[in-house]
């Protein structure tokens, strides 16, 4: 359940940004969560709901954009989505694959009331 500590960090960034922008309220928060980020969106949501009490985000929606795990084969150049995380090229069976996306855990944006 490391999602709690990640959400604690999220709120540090949100508070700082809200202050910078002189926001009165945070209306929504959008995260990008890779399939191989190691966090569970559902647990991020429940952690977010715990943390948002008594903050500028107390009524905020959490929007989670799930990012598929995509790789590129360094041998034949094929790009593919891997549901099973198996690092073998679908086309030429090479194991020399480069991860393009799917490990990220980003705060993309927030909507605020200015």
């Amino acid at each position: 359940m490391h999602e709690l500590s990640i959400v604690a960090n999220l709120f540090e960034i949100l508070n700082q940004k809200a202050k910078e922008k002189k926001a009165k309220r945070i209306l929504s928060v959008t995260l990008q969560v890779g399939r191989l980020s190691g966090v569970v969106p559902e647990l991020l949501r429940s952690s977010f709901d715990i943390y948002k009490q008594d903050t500028l985000a107390h009524n905020a929606d959490l929007v989670i954009q799930e990012v598929p795990f995509k790789v590129r084969c360094l041998a034949c150049g094929t790009e593919m989505t891997k549901e099973d995380f198996i690092m073998v090229c679908d086309r030429c069976r090479s194991t020399e694959l480069e991860i393009l996306q799917g490990t990220e855990l980003f705060l993309l944006k927030m909507d605020v009331e200015a």
Binding site: M1, H2, S5, I6, N9, L10, E12, I13, K17, K21, A23, K24, L27, L31, L36, S37, G38, V39, D84, F85, I86, M87, V88, T95, E96, L97, E104, L105, F106, L107, L108, K109, M110, D111, V112, E113, A114
Partner: protein
């Protein structure tokens, strides 16, 4: 009211990664090879460290940071071997974070060769937190079963080496070493894999040789 969109684009693990990068830079520059050991509870991390202390020392020096939710037991076991050990009690937290290691960094003695960080027993949460290690090792013990890599892809994907531990228990356990290795290599073809038994010593020399060669290459790159 006016609704305004604020683009942020910040990595939620960014602050941990920044602290970890600083630890890695500092300890590598001091010639210390830092290892982060990750596994489920009871897969033999502390026993492995006890055995490593017998094999590495006194030719090489080592120290251990122990992460546990409660108790000083693991650190006491390591100290009983004459090895400096610090216990981090997380008080409930399921993983170590870089700043917990950062707080101890000033106490790490100079001239040390290996610093082992034994993470909290958990195959899930520790995988997301860089501790500033040079090498991440995931342990999979034979009683846990050979089907774990695909069930816990993150930790196998982010590790540098896999240690299959407690190989002395096969048989009678129905653990297929080749299957475990293949599952792990499917997720991460760059994994170095070892099969060891700290109890019988089997396979330990290969792992020790690997650690020593990694120590030398770290020192060459910082010479």
């Amino acid at each position: 009211m006016s609704r305004k969109e604020v683009l942020v684009l910040r990595d939620l693990l960014g602050s941990n990664k920044a602290v970890a990068a600083e630890i890695r830079q500092q300890l590598s520059a001091r010639g210390i090879l830092v290892l982060n050991l990750i596994s489920s509870p009871g897969s033999g991390k502390t026993t492995l460290l006890e055995k490593l202390s017998e094999m590495l020392c006194p030719e090489y020096s080592m120290a251990v940071i122990e992460g546990d939710i409660e108790t000083e037991r693991d650190a006491e076991r390591i100290r009983a071997k004459g090895i400096p050990a610090w216990q981090i009690m997380t008080g409930g937290a399921c993983h170590l974070e870089a700043r917990m290691i950062g707080r101890l960094a000033p106490e790490i003695p100079s001239g040390l060769d290996f610093l082992f960080i034994e993470n909290v027993g958990n195959l899930v949460c520790p995988a997301s937190f860089d501790l500033g290690e040079s090498l991440r090792c995931v342990l999979l013990s034979t009683p846990e079963g050979d089907d774990k890599p695909k069930k816990y892809p993150k930790v196998f994907s982010t590790s540098d080496c896999l240690l299959i531990t407690k190989t002395d228990l096969v048989p009678p356990l129905p653990f297929d070493q080749e299957r475990a290795r293949k599952e792990a290599l499917d997720i991460n073809p760059r994994l170095m894999t070892f099969a060891v038994s700290a109890a019988s010593g089997s396979g330990m020399k290969e792992f020790v040789d690997y650690l020593v060669s990694r120590l030398h290459s770290l020192r060459r790159s910082h010479a």
